[in-house]
Subunit: 355 residues, 2 copies
C-alpha cells in the first residue's frame, strides 16, 4: 500500500496523474482509514481456536483489491467536507465507517471461502486457494465464522438501517450464487438470467458497501439511493469484466488459471453472446463442453476462437461500459471534489483493468 | 404434531401424564405458537430461485425435534401470565417470539446443512442428507441463505440485544465447529477440550434460544442469566447424550447410522473416557482407528466393547446428569407453573431419550 497521506492528494485532479491508476489513488486518499480498517480486520479475526486466524490470515494477507471496504470508506468520506484535511482528527462517522468497512470485507471474504469450495477452485490471488491449503471443511466453517463476525461488528455499530442493508445483501448474494448453480451447464441461459446472477453474487454487495456511507453520514434518501445505484452498476461492470478476463487474460495477471469458468460450465457474458450467434456445429460444441461437461484438450482454445469470431468479448466490454455509464451518472448530484473524481475514474479503471 | 390446545394442559401436572413425554407436552403447550412459527419458516424460506425452497423444505419437512424454537417460545411464554389462557389473543411479545424462534431454527438449519458437508454425512432424520440429495455446493449456499434470512428476521424485530445474543452465538457455533475439526483424530483430546467444543457447537445456541425469551419479555438481568444458563446446561446434556447414542442406539431410532462419530474420528465423551482408562493395547487400537483413520470391519464393535468394559457410556450419562441438574437449578427462581414444570421435565427427557 502507498504511504501517501490523504491530504497530499486533495489539491490534485487524480485523473491527471498518469503514473497511478484510480484504485491506487483511492487507496492513497483513504490511506489512514484503510490502515484503521486493516487493524480492525486483524483484531476481529482473532480466536482462541488457532485454525481460524491462520486460515483467515492466509486469505486476507494475500491481498486482493479491497474495493468494497474502500467504497464504504469513500462513500462516507464524501460527506466529511473540510474535516478530511485533518486526517489525524477522525470524525465519529469515519470511525463507524472503519468498523462497517471491516464488516463488508468479512462478508466478502466469507463468500470467497465458500465460493472456492463450491467451485472446487485451485487458486486464488496467486496462491493455492484456502480449500486446497486447509481443506473444504475448514473453509466452510471459517467462512461461517467471518460471516458471524461481520454481524457482530454491525451490531456493535448499532444502526438498524445498516444491519438491514447488509443482511439483505447477504441473502441476495446467496440467492445469486444458488441461481448461478441452477443455470450452470445450461446453454439456454439468457442474458437476463446472467444479469440477475451477477447482480446477486457481486453487485448487491458493491451497492450495500456504497449505501452504508451516506446512511452513516445521515444523508437524504435521494443521495443514499444515488450512491447505492453507483455501487450496483459499478459492481455489474466489475463482474462482467471479471467474466471477460476469464477468457482473455493470463494466469500471471489474474492470479489464477484462465478458463476456470469454461471448465466449470459457468454461463457468463462471453459464452452467452457467442452461443446466441453460434451455428449448428458451434452449438453442438457448446452443448458438449458446457452442457454435458465433456471437455477435451484444446477445447478452451476452440471456445476462445468462437468467442473471438463473434466479437463476444467486445460485446462484453460494451455491456460493462453501459453499466459504467449508469454508475457515473449517479455521481452527478454530488459536489465536485477530488474524491468524487476518483470514484468517477474508478469506473473506467474497473472496466479497463487486465487483472 | 399433537392437535392438543395449550389450555388443555394448564391445569395438569405434565409429569403425571405417563402416555406423553415432556417434549410432546411442550409441543402441545406451545402448539398455536409452533403453528405460527412453522408458517413463518415456510414464508421466509421462499425465493425466486426454486432450488432454495426445494432444498430448505427437504430438510425442514423431514422434521426434527424443533427443541430450539420451542425453547424461545416457552422462555417467552413463561412471562405471559394469565394471557396464555386465551390462546387466540396473542400478545405482542409472543408475536415477536414467533419471528425469533424462526430465526433460531434457520440458524440451526444452516449449521446442519454445513455440518453435513463438513462431515460428509449420508443420512439425516431418516433420509439421505441434503448434501447427498442436492450436492455439497447447494448445501453450502442454501445454508448461507438461511443464515442471512435469520439475520433479516432479527433485524425486522429490531432489538439490538437479541441481535447481539444471536450473532455472538453464531460466531461461537462456528468456533466450536472449527475446534472440533482441530481436535478430530487426536486421541490426546481432553474432556475440557470436548466440553469447549460442545459448548460452542450445541450449547451456545440452546443458551441463546432461551435467553431471547426473557429479553423479549423485558425481564431483569438475573432472570435473563438464569434462563440462559438453563439453556446452556440443557444443551450440554443434549450433546453429551447425542454422543452417547452414537455408540449405543440403533439406526432405526436415531434416523442415521450408528458409529458416525467413530468413522469420522470425532473425539466425544464415550471415547475420551474409554481412552483415559485404556491399557497399552487398547491405546494402540484407538490410535490406529481414530488417530490414523485406519479402520477395518469389526472395529466399531471392538470400540463399543472397550467403551462398555470401561463403563464409558455410564460415565457419559453421569456427566449429562450433572449438566441436567445445573439446568434445573436455574429454574428455581421462577414461580411454579405447568410450563416451568415441563421445562424441568424436559431435562430428564433429554437425558433419557433413545433418539
Amino acid at each position: 500500500m502507498s504511504a501517501l497521506q490523504p491530504q497530499n492528494k486533495q489539491g490534485q485532479n487524480p485523473s491527471k496523474t498518469p503514473s497511478e491508476n484510480p484504485l491506487d489513488i483511492l487507496q492513497a486518499q483513504m490511506n489512514d482509514d484503510m490502515v484503521a480498517v486493516n487493524q480492525m480486520i486483524i483484531q476481529h479475526m482473532q480466536s482462541d481456536v488457532a485454525l481460524i486466524p491462520q486460515l483467515a490470515n492466509y486469505l486476507i494477507a494475500a491481498g486482493g483489491k479491497r474495493i468494497r471496504p474502500l467504497l464504504t470508506l469513500s462513500c462516507t468520506a464524501l460527506f466529511e467536507g473540510e474535516t478530511r484535511s485533518e486526517p489525524t482528527r477522525l470524525s465519529e462517522n469515519m470511525t463507524r465507517a472503519h468498523k462497517l468497512a471491516a464488516a463488508v470485507e468479512f462478508i466478502h471474504t466469507a463468500t470467497l471461502l465458500h465460493d472456492d469450495v463450491v467451485d472446487d477452485s485451485d487458486e486464488r490471488r496467486g496462491k493455492p486457494s484456502a480449500n486446497i491449503a486447509f481443506g473444504n471443511e475448514a473453509s466452510v466453517l471459517v467462512g461461517d465464522f467471518l460471516f458471524s463476525r461481520a454481524f457482530q461488528l454491525m451490531v456493535a455499530d448499532g444502526n438498524l438501517d445498516v444491519l438491514r442493508i447488509l443482511s439483505n445483501a447477504s441473502a441476495i448474494i446467496a440467492e445469486g450464487e444458488v441461481m448461478q448453480l441452477s443455470v450452470q451447464n445450461n446453454i439456454e441461459t439468457t442474458m437476463e438470467e446472467y444479469a440477475k446472477v451477477i447482480e446477486g453474487k457481486t453487485a448487491s454487495l458493491f451497492a450495500a458497501a456504497c449505501e452504508v456511507g451516506p446512511i452513516i453520514a445521515n444523508q437524504g434518501t435521494e443521495t443514499v439511493q444515488a450512491l447505492r445505484n453507483y455501487g450496483l452498476n459499478l459492481g455489474m461492470a466489475f463482474q462482467v469484466i471479471d467474466d471477460v478476463l476469464d477468457y482473455s487474460s493470463t494466469r500471471e495477471k489474474i492470479g489464477k488459471a484462465v478458463g476456470d469458468d469454461f471448465r466449470e460450465g459457468k454461463m457468463t457474458a462471453p459464452v452467452i453472446f457467442a452461443i446466441q450467434k453460434a451455428n449448428g456445429k458451434e452449438k453442438e460444441f457448446w452443448q458438449r463442453t458446457l452442457g454435458d461437461k465433456k471437455q477435451n484438450e484444446g477445447d478452451l482454445e476452440k471456445a476462445q476462437n468462437f468467442i473471438s469470431q463473434h466479437d463476444a468479448l467486445a460485446h462484453g466490454m460494451k455491456l460493462a461500459h453501459q453499466y459504467g455509464d449508469k454508475a457515473i451518472k449517479n455521481l452527478n448530484m454530488l459536489p465536485d471534489t477530488p474524491l468524487k473524481q476518483t470514484l468517477v475514474d474508478l469506473v473506467s479503471f474497473t472496466i479497463n483493468r487486465e487483472y
